[in-house]
């Protein structure tokens, strides 16, 4: 069993390496990618089904780091939580890998892509299985790096390069806090081992280092999970191929934050401040993202914002759940979300591949005549909206219920904030799901507005992105990405008449659909993972119904886009995320200006200090040359002056 846990982490990494080496032949690459995914899923299943999951946290990985006054055992753990999450990740990745084979079949960089996905998986599984803060950080950063590679897959397209750049920079800025936080936590315990960190005796009174560490970790998580104000990288990340989006959004990177905080939950349970920060961030994010999602004009961006709000729901549950409930509800929503979000993305990718765009205007009614795809999307959206009996309903209500318990119980105001936000989000989610469904399902009554025209109209509204000079700094993203340019037209243009979907690919989608329907059963294994409170269930059902009806009525029975009811300026603003991107660009420009200043200082101030004596030496040399002419008298003068000087010095200093 222990070997299996190790293998689950090791195998994808090796698969990534092998895939990179075997990039010459596509067949080998596919075999490696899919095969490894299959094996990992099997192993994960084995671990999960192990009758009594061994609650051990001392699985040796690469051996204890030989350090003085710091113990870094680098252990792995395996318990119920980790085994469930591992299984989910493995399954989702398997589906994605299978789907990718079809989706990127003409892409010359398929091998690199698949290998990166494997490496990404390794990172995520490392985070899941790690019982050591250092290892967690390793997996965390590896995921970030792979996301840079995946989002920037079509590096020919400037928008893709920019999106990848943005994603990595925003997350690594947040990782400043992450690194500091993890270091602070491990310094408290003089060890990076998770158990030591959790069991270090509490200091009496407020433990400043602990609070700082926990808040820093929250900030780091906010970066990767796209909480406000770090949220804006996620929609742009849609520049990556759809499988990459599915991977990043569904089970891995974005959700990793939830898992890390769940692991550290015992510490958070003791620290009010950190949890309050988390609660506020989560509440704001889930509502704000829901609103933005409603206004999106692009399917993938809509899904991206829905991801933000869903992840915020998980974190909200963590922030509000009372200690006795623990982190399980959040994790269970993580699982459910993984299923339906993966389903939705793959479905969207499928649709986009067939239609050739992801703009909702273009996709309007395109799902109608494709029964299978229509079904899949329906299940996905319904689950996202939280319609029973789909998994989304159960997991979300488990989260809401946990928050309610906290609110009614020990947690108080903070929990109430979360609960309110949760209910609001439920309604919003239902609304935008309905809107999306109506758009996808009901064909445009008056086919006057061609998609291109629609695009143009928006292009006019936001203007294109002018070319940027090369010497601009890393941060300098002065131009917001044109949101309608997503859906990687590069790839889709590459195979405009895309081959009809292969059976395996569609099977992978339906497997996810099945999981979305029956996933609750899988969660049953995790005690406390499904716990629907009657009150919360009723309230949320009402809210869902209300949301659906609102959206349906606004779009008068699907003939129009419900979002058109919004004032156009608001909508336009929402499409570009209310200029968050520009704000980032401002920060970047500021740093760049600082950098230029530094360069100037480096040349003219720091370097002047050594240059000055050199110049002085030259000038003195000139003077000297003028003084030293072969005039004997001057020599005599020198002699006498010298003697006087020496005499004075000598006689005065002697006594």
């Amino acid at each position: 069993m222990i070997e299996v846990v190790r293998l689950v982490v090791l195998l994808p990494a090796l698969a990534g390496l092998a895939g990179l080496l075997a990039r010459r032949s596509a067949v080998a690459a596919r075999a490696i990618a899919v095969g490894s995914a299959v094996v990992v899923s099997a192993l994960a299943l084995a671990v999960a089904l192990a009758v009594s999951p061994m609650n051990t946290a001392d699985i040796d990985s690469v051996g204890d780091l030989p350090l003085r006054n710091l113990s870094a055992p680098l252990h792995l753990l395996s318990d119920q939580l980790s085994s469930v999450v591992t299984l989910v990740v493995a399954l989702v990745v398997l589906a994605i890998q299978v789907f990718t084979v079809w989706y990127l079949r003409e892409d010359p960089r398929y091998a690199q892509f698949a290998a990166t996905v494997s490496l990404f998986t390794a990172g995520m599984l490392l985070v899941v299985a790690s019982a050591d803060l250092a290892l967690t950080l390793v997996g965390w950063e590896v995921m970030g790096w792979c996301s840079w590679l995946l989002i920037g897959h079509d590096s020919e397209r400037r928008s893709a390069r920019r999106a990848a750049h943005k994603a990595f920079l925003v997350t690594s800025v947040a990782d400043i806090a992450m690194v500091v936080g993890l270091i602070a936590l491990s310094v408290r315990a003089r060890s990076t081992d998770l158990l030591d960190v959790l069991t270090v005796p509490m200091l009496p009174g407020a433990d400043a280092v602990l609070t700082v560490g926990l808040i820093c970790v929250v900030i780091g998580v906010a970066g990767k999970s796209g909480l406000v104000p770090f949220h804006d990288w996620l929609p742009d990340a849609m520049e990556g191929p759809t499988p990459a989006s599915a991977l990043i959004h569904a089970a891995t990177m974005v959700a990793a934050g939830t898992y890390v905080i769940a692991r550290l939950f015992p510490l958070y349970a003791t620290d009010e401040t950190a949890r309050t920060v988390l609660a506020v961030l989560a509440a704001v994010t889930m509502v704000y993202a829901g609103l933005l999602a409603f206004a999106q004009t692009d399917l993938k961006r809509l899904l991206a914002y829905s991801t933000l709000s869903q992840v915020a729901i998980m974190l909200g549950a963590l922030a509000a759940a009372p200690p006795e409930v623990g982190p399980v509800p959040a994790v269970s929503h993580l699982v459910g979300h993984a299923f339906f979000k993966a389903l939705l993305f793959l479905g969207a990718g499928w649709l986009a591949a067939l239609v050739g765009a992801t703009a909702l205007e273009t996709l309007r009614g395109r799902a109608r005549d494709r029964r299978a795809l229509r079904l899949a999307m329906a299940i996905g959206l319904a689950s996202l909206a939280g319609v029973p009996p789909l998994v989304g309903f159960f997991t979300k209500d488990t989260a809401i219920d946990a928050a309610l318990e906290g609110a009614t119980g020990s947690e108080g105001l903070r929990a109430w904030v979360v609960v309110v936000a949760l209910f609001a989000t439920t309604a919003l989610t239902a609304a935008y799901c309905t809107r999306a469904w109506l758009l996808l399902d009901t064909p445009r009554p008056t086919p006057t507005l061609t998609p291109s025209a629609a695009n143009d109209s928006f292009e006019v509204e936001h203007g294109g992105a002018p070319a940027r000079s090369l010497t601009t700094s890393a941060f300098d993203d002065a131009m917001p990405a044109t949101p309608l340019a997503v859906g990687e037209p590069g790839v889709l243009a590459a195979h405009g008449d895309h081959k009809p979907i292969t059976l395996t690919a569609s099977l992978s989608v339906f497997a996810l659909a099945a999981l979305t329907v029956f996933g609750t059963l899988l969660l049953m294994g995790l005690d406390g993972a499904v716990h629907v409170g009657l009150a919360s269930a009723i309230v949320s059902l009402l809210l869902i119904a209300g949301g659906c009806f609102a959206a349906w009525s606004w779009s008068d029975r699907g003939r129009r886009d419900a979002a058109e009811r919004l004032p156009s300026r608001l909508r336009a603003g929402a499409v570009v995320g209310f200029g968050a991107d520009t704000a980032y660009a401002r920060v970047g420009a500021g740093v760049t200006a600082l950098a230029r200043l530094v360069v100037v200082l480096d040349r003219d101030v720091v370097d002047a200090s050594p240059r000055a004596p050199a110049v002085a030496a030259r000038q003195l040399g000139r003077v000297g040359v003028r003084v030293h002419r072969a005039v004997p008298a001057s020599a005599l003068l020198g002699v006498v002056v010298g003697i006087v000087v020496v005499a004075v010095l000598g006689v005065t200093v002697w006594q």
Partner: protein, 546 residues
Amino acid sequence: MNGVVIDVGALWPALFPLLGIIAVLVVDLVSPRLRQAPFAVAVVAAGFGAWTSLPGVLQEAGSSRSSFCVGQQGWFSSTAAPPYLTDSCFWQADSLASGLQLAASLAAVVCLLLAWPSTRTRADAAPGGGPMPPRSGHTREPVEAVLLLAALAGTVVLAASRDLGTWLVALELATLPVIALVALAGGRRSIVGAVQLLVTSLVSFALLVLGAALWFAATGSPFLSPDAAGGAAGSPVALDSAGSASLLALSVVFVVAGIGFKLSLVPFHAWTPTAYAGATLPVATFLATVSKIGALAALLVFLRAVAVLGTPGLVAIGVLSALSMTVGNLMALRQNDVVLLLAWSTVAQAGWVVLPLISVSPLGTRASAAYLLTYVAATLVAFAVVALTMRDAGVAGRSLVGYGGLWRRHPWRAGALGLALTSLAGLPPGIIGLVGKIVALRPVVSEGWVWLAVIAAANAVLGVAVYLRWLRPVVTSLDEASESVTVTSASEAALVAGGSPRGSRSPHNPPSLRVRRGALVAALVISAALLFVVSVQPDLLLGVLG
């Protein structure tokens, strides 16, 4: 027995040069047409001098080979001898002094080799043989040899002298011949150099004598011995001990100043570039090496006597050394004429030489002597290379560009030059130079003069800059070398055309007519071998000084 105890064995290092002088004169009398004979004799004499100073070097520390010692009895009929007279000697060569004597003799041998004439017999009249006026051309070789030997003898005696009389006479004996040698080179430049050297030396010598007189006034003893200085209280004119102490201080500073001229310390240095440029290369070499040894020997003799008085008075030396280093390096940075560059580097190195003397302790004196020897060895090699290059390339050998691509053309010569320059700069592979810097800085640091040490560090940087300027063309590659050679020839042409007095009036133009190549090679080999050996095992050099 009563009277002076004379141990001739101890005197040989000084006697051989003197005998050499006589021999040279005799030889010249017998067969005036032989040009090389005087130098052969001189080399033999100097060599024997070196040989006979070896036992003094090898004696264990503390002991010394003395001569002209006076016992107590017999001399002072009237009164009993003062305490400071108990068996004092006029000649005392301990290992340090002998080491300096040895170095002086060897350096003299190299200088003589550098001056070795090429043709065996003298052509009767050298009509327009260079700028050399024919009239002085006839007896040039024996005169050169005799003067060189005389100066050498003066230096050797200086190192071992222990009383005012010998000291003064030896100092002048070591100085005056060199002035004559500079003047002998002929040409206006040499005259100017000689004049400047002359007036400077005269004045500083006068003040030196004044200082000596003050010493005598303060101590009442003609002996430069610690107990004499210690017994200053009992001096005839002493108003009180404080007064005599200040007299003593005054004498010390006069002496330091007077010798500073010979060491070409700033501000007594003005003669150095002029004289070097005016003199022939061998004489310049002599000025740069043997004279410096003599000067330091004289200074050490005096300082070791006043060492008992403690060090603070010698802040003067610290200032002088800092000044010399800085000025020397700054000026050397601007020179494109290698001889001038070496002249200014002499000034700078003089600063390093006296640097350790701010602590008048055995440590300091030995350190200063050690640094001087490393400097002498390196400078000899450099001058030998310059002589060879000038013999091949003519005037171009005097300018930095003339050394372009030397590495490819004459690897061994370039290697020797590189070793010499890096030794002067204190960089490996010139380990000895590095060790010299360590030795020189040690007393400074140990006395806690950190500010002086930092100035020295800054000057080490400047020095590196100076010598790298010369090393750069040496290691440049062939193509650059070729073009630099063309540049050289062009500049040479310009010079010969009278563009600058350097070319046309240069005393060695063309030098290849005057100096024998074999001798140059021999000189180079000797000096380079010395430098290399001490570079591999610096203990040999440091051990010489006990």
